[in-house]
Point group: C2
Chain length 426, copies 2
C-alpha cells in the first residue's frame, strides 16, 4: 500500500501523511479539498504498464488497482467488481452532423455502469476505503446519482449507508436509493443544504462521509474514467499492443460540482507522470447556463467561485456552489481547454441527437457534454481533425420526465390496420 504517500491540499499545497487527515485540509474549513499523492516511481517499477493491462482479464475499474490508493477490495463476483470499463463508442454519424471528421469523435457511455451513472466509480472506491478503515456507516449527500451509486455499492457488500437527497430529485433516482436498502432522508431544501447537513451529521454520528470532492477518494474513483478513455481510445485508433497510450485532443465533460472533471484531470496527470501518455487533452467543461458557477469563474480568470442560484432541468449538475469548483476551473485552465455554457433547450436537443444518432439514451446532465461539443463545433472552436471524447455520465432512464420533454408524445391509434395506414403514410 506504500504507493499511497498521502495528501496535498488543492488550495495551499500543504502535505499530509495518510493517517494525518481524513477528508480536507484543516486550514480552510470544509473547502480544502485534498489530492491523493501517489508514488509514481514505485508504480513505474511495479507490475503495472500499458502492456500488462493489455493482457488483463479484469474489465472493470479494478484493472487499474496499482494506480489507486486502496487495497484490493475482494468481493469478487459482486457489482462492486463490475464498475467501469464502459463502452467507448465511435460517433461517426454525429461527427458528420457537426461538420467534424468521422472516426475522430467518440462517446464514453457511463450510463452503462451498475447503477447507471458515472458515480459508481467514486462510490466503489469510497466503499473499498470504508472497508479498509472499518467505517461502520457511509453517508452521502446527493442529487440522486451519487446516492444511488453509494447505496448500490454498499448493498453489493452489505455495508450500511445513509443518503441525504433534495426532495426535488427525480422519482427514478429516489426509487433506486430505496430499493438498495439505504436509509434515505429527503431534505426539504436543495443539494447544497443536503451537502452541508451531511457534513454535520457525519461528524455528529461518526459516519464515513462520501460527499463529493470533500472525500478525496471520490476523485480517485472518478479518475479511472481517464484511464479507460486513454486505453480504449488507443485501441480504437491503432490495433496493435501499444507500449504507451494515446490521449485524445479534447475531452468534453459536464460540470456540476466539478468533481468528475477534476477526477478525469487527476487521472490524466497520473498517466502523464507515469509516461503512459505524452500530452494532456484540452479539457472542455460544459455547464448548464442556469448553473454555471465554474464557467463564470473561468471566464473571469479567477479561482474564486461565486455561488449562483441554480436552475436547470439537468438535476445532476444543478448546484449553487460547486464543491470541487477550484480544481474544475484549474483543470480547464491548465490544459488549455475552455468552458462552454449551454441552455436547457441545447441539452434536450443533445439528448435527442445522442439517442437517434448513436443509440445512447442519456439523462439531461449526461447529454450536457455533447451539447457542449455541438456548440463548440458550431462556433468553430475546434479543428475538424481533432480527436474528441465526450463523456456521457448517466442513463436517460434515470429521468423519464425530461426524456418525455425531449422526445415528445407517441401517436395513439386504435388497433386497426386502417389506423396504422393513416399514420404510416405520414
Amino acid at each position: 500500500m506504500s504507493r499511497f504517500l498521502g495528501y496535498r491540499c488543492s488550495l495551499c499545497g500543504a502535505e499530509y501523511a495518510p493517517d494525518q487527515v481524513e477528508y480536507v485540509c484543516p486550514k480552510h474549513g470544509d473547502s480544502g479539498n485534498l489530492d491523493v499523492v501517489l508514488d509514481y516511481t514505485m508504480i513505474r517499477h511495479g507490475a503495472a504498464s500499458p502492456a500488462a493491462l493489455a493482457a488483463s482479464q479484469d474489465f472493470s475499474i479494478w484493472r487499474y488497482l496499482p494506480l489507486l490508493p486502496v487495497a484490493d477490495p475482494g468481493c469478487e463476483g459482486t457489482p462492486l467488481r463490475a464498475v467501469g470499463w464502459t463502452p467507448l463508442y465511435r460517433a461517426d454519424r454525429l461527427a458528420s452532423t457537426l461538420g467534424l471528421n468521422a472516426s475522430r469523435v467518440f462517446v464514453k457511455d457511463d450510463g452503462r455502469n451498475p447503477t447507471a451513472s458515472f458515480k459508481d466509480r467514486a462510490s466503489a472506491v469510497v466503499v473499498a476505503r470504508a472497508r479498509e478503515i472499518h467505517a461502520p456507516v457511509i453517508a452521502a449527500a446527493s442529487t440522486g446519482n451519487a446516492g444511488a451509486a453509494l447505496a448500490g455499492m454498499a448493498a453489493a457488500v452489505a455495508h450500511p449507508a445513509v443518503i441525504l437527497a433534495p426532495q426535488t430529485a427525480p422519482p427514478a433516482k429516489i426509487a433506486q436509493l430505496l430499493m438498495f436498502g439505504a436509509k434515505v432522508l429527503l431534505v426539504n431544501g436543495n443539494y447544497d443544504q443536503a451537502f452541508d447537513l451531511t457534513l454535520r451529521a457525519s461528524r455528529e454520528f461518526g459516519w464515513y462521509c462520501r460527499n463529493t470532492g470533500y472525500n478525496p477518494f471520490t476523485l480517485e474513483g472518478k479518475k479511472t474514467a481517464a484511464f479507460e478513455i486513454c486505453e480504449q481510445f488507443t485501441h480504437q485508433m491503432s490495433r496493435g499492443t501499444p507500449v504507451g497510450w494515446l490521449a485524445p485532443d479534447r475531452l468534453f465533460v459536464s460540470v456540476g460540482d466539478g468533481n468528475i472533471l477534476s477526477g478525469i484531470h487527476k487521472g490524466l496527470k497520473d498517466l502523464l507522470a507515469l509516461g503512459w501518455i505524452d500530452k494532456l487533452p484540452k479539457l472542455m467543461g460544459v455547464q448548464a447556463e442556469g448553473s454555471a458557477a465554474c464557467a463564470n469563474a473561468w471566464a473571469s480568470n479567477t479561482e474564486t467561485i461565486t455561488p449562483v442560484s441554480a436552475q436547470t432541468l439537468a438535476d445532476s449538475i444543478s448546484v449553487d456552489l460547486p464543491r470541487d469548483g477550484v480544481r474544475a476551473v484549474r483543470a480547464v485552465r491548465e490544459t488549455g481547454g475552455a468552458y462552454v455554457v449551454v441552455s436547457d433547450d441545447d441539452i434536450l436537443a443533445a439528448m435527442r441527437d445522442l439517442a437517434r444518432g448513436l443509440a445512447v439514451f442519456a439523462e439531461p446532465a449526461g447529454a450536457t457534454a455533447y451539447a457542449g461539443l455541438a456548440k463548440a463545433a458550431r462556433a468553430g472552436i475546434m479543428g475538424a481533425d481533432e480527436t474528441v471524447v465526450v463523456v456521457v455520465t448517466g442513463s436517460g432512464l434515470k429521468d423519464v420526465k425530461s426524456a418525455m420533454q425531449a422526445a415528445g408524445e407517441a401517436v395513439k391509434i386504435e388497433p386497426t390496420l386502417e389506423a396504422v395506414k393513416r399514420v404510416a403514410a405520414r
Copy 2:
C-alpha cells in the same frame, strides 16, 4: 454462411431451406414457429471452440458469431456491438437467505445491456439479419422492452423502425422508444392486439417483422445468453482454461411469450450438440400467477396453450397468449425442469431481495425468475448443493412505479441536524 442450413418447424418438424420461408411454417397460420438448423459438423471443424473463445477479445454476443445464422454485421464501435456479455454475479448472501449453499447460486444481470433489457440480444441479431436481406423497415410489437431494444439497435446503425406497443406500457419504456427515433404507435389495446396488428401491417407495408417467436432470429439472438451463462459459470467454478464448459444444474427464467426460455433452451441444445457441455440444465420457467398460460399447459401435461386474461404488474410478461408457448413448455418438460407460479407480492419481494442482497435493481418481470427460485427453495424442490443460475431480464429503472411500490416511501425531513437525529435514532 453455409453453417445456416435452414429451418425446422417446431410444430410438425417440416424443414425448409433458408430462402424457402421468411418467418413461420406455412402449414399452421402464424403460429408455426421455426427453429434455425445449423451445421454442427461445420461449426465443430471451424475455428470456434471453448479454447478459442477463452482468447477472444470480443466481449459481446458477437464472440459467438460462428454459432449464429447471420454474417458479421460490421458496425464496430456502435451499441450493436456492445450487446451481451452481461455480468454473472455470485449471489452468496441471497443463497444463504434461501437455505441454499453459498457459491452455488448465480444471477445473470441482463439489465446491463445497452437498452437495459435482455431483448437487445434478439434485436441485435434481427437487425443484423435485416441488413443482410436489405429490409427497408423493421417493425415489432412490444410491451416495451423488445421495442426499445429494436429502436435502440436500429438507431445504432441508422435503420428505420416502427414499434407498436400497448398504451399501458410504463412511461420509461415509451420514452425510450421515442428517444431512439422509432415511429411509435401506442395501440388502444393489449400486447396481443398489438402483436396481431404488427403481423398484418408488416404484410401490408412490406416491413421486416421482428415479432417475438414469429421471427426465427429472435430465438437465435436470445440463445446467446445460454452461451454466456455456460462460459461465465465455467470461469466462476474453475479458473483454468477449459476444453469444454460446465452447465449449471438449474436455470430460472421468467416466462411471458416464452421466447427467452426457448431461446436459452436452443442455445443449450447447440452447445450439447457441439459437445461443449455434457448435460442440459433443468429449465425452470417462472410465470406470474395472473399470466400463467405456459405453466397451466405444463401442469396439464399438454402442449396446447389456452389463452388467459392476463393481469400482473410484471408488464413485460403480461400476455394472454404466449407466442412461443409450445417451445417454452417443451423446454421445461424435455429438461426435467418445472414451472413455478408466483404472485405479484412475491415479485415485489424478489425486487427488494435482489436489490438489497445483491445490488441488482430489476423490473418486476426481471425479478420474477428470482421469485421463482425463492419459492422453489422454500418448497424444497431443490437440493441445497445444486448449482443455480437466475436470469434477470431487465432494469428496475424501466418501471419506477413498481419500484416505488416495492420500496416504500422515503423519510422527508427539514434541513436540520435535529431532524436527522430523530430519524437516525430509529
